[in-house]
């Protein structure tokens, strides 16, 4: 029972990550019709917003280690902690959640620049061209990050009080071994809020309505005299920001490196397509479904029966769903199915 409950939590947590990345991807994919292979790179850029923010807070004076004479070895003492002994350490401690403040404007701006400067010229181009240009873009972004930050993962800690685990088991009457990291619980809630926010935006604002209409039938919306172009810029920026925020919040779970986007890219495409093209709800549902399925497939008991099942379960489930349901879980006809 305890083990199953924990796997459900794991599944939800994974699902939250998949859903959040897929959400931005399906916005761009379903609304703008752009096959965006750079979406993973945008996720990674978000993570590096957190790294940059942390590095900025940690601009330090260097105290040389006198015992090492062969090269400069030093201990760092951040100016922030020297100048503001009270607030400084707290700021540093909370650098990951605080970096959201940096990530939102930066990611919106990056989204805006990319859409205006590059993506908008590709709306009417074949998917092949879109794949090539966004893949190229992803490589360029990756390599730039690698040139600045190196290839090694850069650990980002959660705030101290959230670094450990919550005794979830004692809350709900399960064993004391049922613990779960605070930060993962926060990630789960955060993801819920963002998903809800995006849905609310699409449901209740006029922008959102136009976008939803645009997902159905771009030409008609264009004919209505609505400036669809401007809306598209906003959608792309929004998707970029969602990817970025997903990246920021993921850093304490996975130390970010320049390549992390590519690792998620294929998976997020699978999630989006299993969810069904043009369906936000489908992408979210598929994200959680695949997350949970993957968690359970990794259990020793399951692997004992089907060795290696955890290696392929996501793809296996994807194949089954797509063969049974022609347009994924909730896909609509006419979006990218020809």
């Amino acid at each position: 029972m305890d083990a199953v409950f924990l796997q459900i939590l794991n599944g939800l947590d994974k699902g939250a990550a998949y859903a959040l990345i897929a959400l931005g991807l399906t916005l761009v994919f379903g609304t703008l019709g752009i096959v965006n292979f750079a979406h993973g790179a945008l996720f990674m850029l978000g993570a590096f917003c957190a790294v940059t923010f942390n590095k900025m807070l940690l601009i330090s004076t260097k105290i040389l280690d006198p015992t090492v004479t062969l090269f400069k070895a030093y201990k760092e003492k951040p100016y922030l902690e020297i100048w503001f002994p009270d607030v400084g350490p707290v700021l540093v401690d909370y650098s990951v959640p605080l970096s959201i403040l940096l990530a939102i404007p930066v990611m919106l701006l990056i989204g805006f620049i990319l859409e205006r400067g590059l993506i908008k010229h590709f709306y009417s181009r074949p998917h092949a061209d879109q794949i090539l240009v966004t893949f190229g873009l992803a490589i360029v972004i990756q390599e730039l990050i690698k040139a600045v930050f190196g290839a090694n993962p850069i650990p980002q800690g959660a705030p101290d009080i959230l670094a450990g685990s919550a005794a979830v088991g004692s809350w709900i009457g399960l064993g004391e071994n049922v613990v779960y990291p605070w930060w993962r619980l926060i990630y789960l809630s955060f993801s819920g809020i963002i998903i809800f926010g995006v849905f609310a935006f699409l449901q209740f604002t006029t922008y959102g309505m136009v976008v939803r209409a645009g997902m159905r039938d771009r030409e008609t919306v264009g004919l209505l005299g609505i400036n669809i172009q401007k809306r598209f810029t906003i959608v792309f920026s929004l998707a970029t920001a969602v990817a970025g925020l997903a990246g920021v919040m993921y850093t304490p779970i996975l130390p970010p490196d320049y390549h992390m986007g590519m690792d998620f890219l294929v998976l997020s495409f699978v999630v989006v397509v299993v969810g069904g093209m043009g369906s936000l709800g489908g992408a979210v549902l598929a994200g959680f479904l695949l997350g949970i399925v993957q968690s359970f497939a990794s259990m020793t008991e399951v692997k004992a029966i089907l060795p290696g099942i955890d290696q392929i379960i996501i793809y296996l489930v994807a194949v089954i769903i797509l063969l049974v349901l022609p347009r994924g879980l909730m896909g609509r006809a006419g979006v990218m199915d020809d």
Binding site: D2, K14, D65, F71, A151, V179, W183, I253
Partner: protein
């Protein structure tokens, strides 16, 4: 001799084909490159005044930082061989016949390649080094898959391979080759070296849970750790294989909580290890008490770059390493000094092994008095040396594995600088990590490729 047989066979075929196809006949000189007589050999420098060595390291992909450090070490080694700089370990390496005037009077040059940490790419890049750059020796790399793949290529091509970072038992075990040499230690030695320290620190009554990267290196590591710990009297609760590059390991970590195990052994390397370790710590494993004992995590293979990536999570964790820059012996000091002066940072263990391998190869050529690989190989086989940072070392002739002391290290709780991440807990003497070469099987193959 059976060798002769083979050559005749292909040469006869070549003549036939040459006569048959006009197109092929037009380029006979190309074919002749592949075959050589005893006095001639692949990439024989002849009267050239310079020789080239090939440094095949990961320049892109997850291990590119390690590759960068390896490349730094190679360049330094070349410099020292050519008598430039302060000479580094050339001054401490004994017995050495290196004079700092190149090798056999020829200046040492080098060419580089990118393995991408993929067997295919590594072989392609090694082939370029051999076919286009005409290198005499290939070195570098940071994964066993790549090392084994390149090693077997080098055997086919008749070029000596001095492995870089490769820790799997297979490299000098079932996949060993006459032309391949490994200075780095292996999974078996890690297990043997950790044993006594684990016993001292954690006692004899322990239950271990293994998470293992699901590929050959992971398996050999798991096997070696299991053998060692079970010998101590530990129980093995479970061994779970995890997909390489899983990223999020939560679904493998939560079962540990309920398993009743009190030690988690992470048979992971690189990014897998960084992720699984920091996530395990987040799940509060290190704060846990199980069976009245503190829960412990062990990472059999450590590197500084991994320690950097794992951040605070590494503190207090036990593991092994091939070499550490804080070692106080003369050789290590000399190397750290020249490396630090050149690049402003201490060398990693990957850099160390690559540097040493380059010097060892050069020295073997000097000893053999020729670049002819069979002779070079013979002078490396059974070669005993010292002053290279690991104490008295021997290249065992039977499997081309170096035997030397192994370092058991612990993640530094209170680092005094950004490089001060690991503390040496114990130097396990060589005699404890030695084993019979026959246990891993494999065959070296012939001297003449």
């Amino acid at each position: 001799m059976t060798n002769e047989n083979k050559f005749n066979f292909s040469r006869r075929g070549m003549l036939k084909a040459g006569a048959a196809g006009g197109l092929l006949a037009a380029t006979p000189s190309f074919f002749m490159r592949d075959a050589w007589a005893a006095s001639d050999f692949r990439n024989n420098p002849g009267n050239a005044s310079e020789i080239k060595l090939g440094f095949n390291v990961p320049q892109t992909g997850p291990y590119s930082e390690e590759g960068k450090d390896e490349l730094r070490a190679f360049k330094l080694a070349v410099k020292h061989l050519n008598g430039e700089g302060d000479g580094g370990m050339l001054n401490t390496f004994k017995p050495s016949v290196l004079k700092g005037n190149g090798v056999l009077g020829k200046k040492v040059g080098f060419a580089t390649g990118d393995t991408q940490t993929k067997s295919d790419a590594a072989r392609a890049s090694a082939k370029r080094l051999i076919e286009k750059e005409n290198v005499l020796m290939i070195s570098g790399g940071s994964s066993s898959g790549v090392a084994v793949a390149v090693q077997s290529l080098c055997q086919e091509q008749g070029v000596v391979f001095m492995a870089g970072l490769t820790h799997s038992n297979d490299t000098t075990g079932k996949d060993k080759r006459r032309y391949g040499f490994r200075h780095f230690f292996n999974a078996y030695m890690s297990g043997r070296a950790l044993g006594p320290v684990l016993e001292k620190e954690y006692g004899k009554e322990r239950k271990a849970y293994h998470l293992t990267a699901d590929y050959t290196w992971g398996w050999t590591q798991e096997e070696s750790m299991k053998a060692t710990t079970e010998e101590l009297g530990w129980q093995t609760t479970a061994t779970v294989r995890t997909p390489v590059g899983a990223g999020d390991f939560s679904q493998y970590i939560t079962p540990v909580l309920n398993s009743g195990a009190d030690v988690l052994i992470l048979n992971h390397y690189g990014k897998d290890m960084i992720n699984s370790l920091s996530q395990a710590v987040q799940f509060g494993l290190r704060d846990k008490q199980v069976n009245g004992k503190n829960f412990e995590i062990v990472v059999p293979l450590f590197s500084r770059l991994m320690a950097q990536g794992a951040g605070d999570a590494i503190k207090g964790i036990l593991g092994t390493t091939n070499w550490n820059w804080k070692l106080q012996d003369e050789g290590s000091q000399a190397f750290v000094k020249s490396f630090g002066a050149e690049y402003g940072a201490p060398p990693s263990m990957a850099a160390h092994t690559c540097y040493v391998q380059t010097l060892l190869y050069a020295n073997a050529c000097e000893m053999a008095g020729t670049f002819y690989p069979p002779e070079v190989i013979k002078s490396l086989e059974g070669f005993k040396f010292d002053g290279m940072g690991n104490g008295a070392t021997e290249y065992r002739a039977e499997d081309h594995q170096c035997f030397k002391d192994v370092l058991v290290v612990r993640g530094n709780e209170n680092p005094s600088s950004q490089f001060d991440l690991l503390n040496v807990v114990e130097t396990t003497p060589r005699s404890q990590v030695e084993y019979d070469w026959k246990i891993f099987g494999g065959e070296l193959g012939p001297y003449k490729a």
